[in-house]
Symmetry: C2
Subunit: 137 residues, 2 copies
């Protein structure tokens, strides 16, 4: 676990992974404008380190040569259980502002949430997990 903490023992790395996972962020600009206020130099540095450690990879955008697509690797998407447990912990113990009913549903359906997260990643389905939850039940 110390290994994980060498990688994630900072304020931004896990937030980046979370934004890729639940908000389907792909570009540098999307990360910048997803509201947490990360500095451009730090974002560039974290993306580089996450890539170096095999958690994400880059691919060019074929429609716009300025853009770079960041995408989670298998190792990256495997962080979903960690992120989910963190999300649930935060919802239980802190005031997250997230709708409580949604979180209760997620807590009851961990396996479904994880399977769905992985499916969307595999199929490059950009629908975000969070807003759209509970529809199937």
């Amino acid at each position: 676990m110390s290994v994980s903490l060498d990688m994630f023992g900072d304020r931004w790395s896990l937030l980046i992974v979370r934004d890729m996972m639940v908000r389907a962020n792909k570009t540098f600009k999307e990360f910048l404008s997803s509201g947490e206020g990360i500095a451009t130099n730090v974002l560039a540095d974290r993306l580089r380190r996450l890539e170096d450690s095999g958690i994400l990879m880059t691919e060019p955008d074929l429609e716009d040569g300025r853009r770079v697509h960041y995408r989670l690797t298998e190792k990256g998407i495997d962080l979903a259980p960690v992120l989910l447990e963190m999300l649930l912990w935060g919802a239980k113990h802190e005031d997250t502002g997230a709708p409580c009913a949604v979180m209760v549903e997620m807590a009851k359906n961990r396996e479904w949430v994880l399977a769905e997260t992985r499916r969307r990643w595999a199929e490059r389905d950009p629908t975000p997990i969070l807003p759209k939850f509970g529809a199937g039940k």
Copy 2:
């Protein structure tokens, strides 16, 4: 989750919680000598912040007035699922040095591990969940 990351977005806080949970660390000195090399000023600061945010509490050692016992709160022990998933992720994707068979067992028995962790916390049973393995990592 951003809330959680304000708290845990640093190299040491989660490591402290982990050491309390799986190694049953209680005193300042135990944290110092549990091998990660945290500085005394940083350790003092993190313990204070973890206490301020209700993740741990302190109680005096009745047998030795110099010592302070740090103990996880309910909110703190509720981090067990997060830590467990991190541990499992690290074991799968990084070279942790932890005996592989042990991790496979843990992955298969998440619920048991969590129940046992909580039981030991509740009963103040200091038996560590994980045996100490060497230089670790």
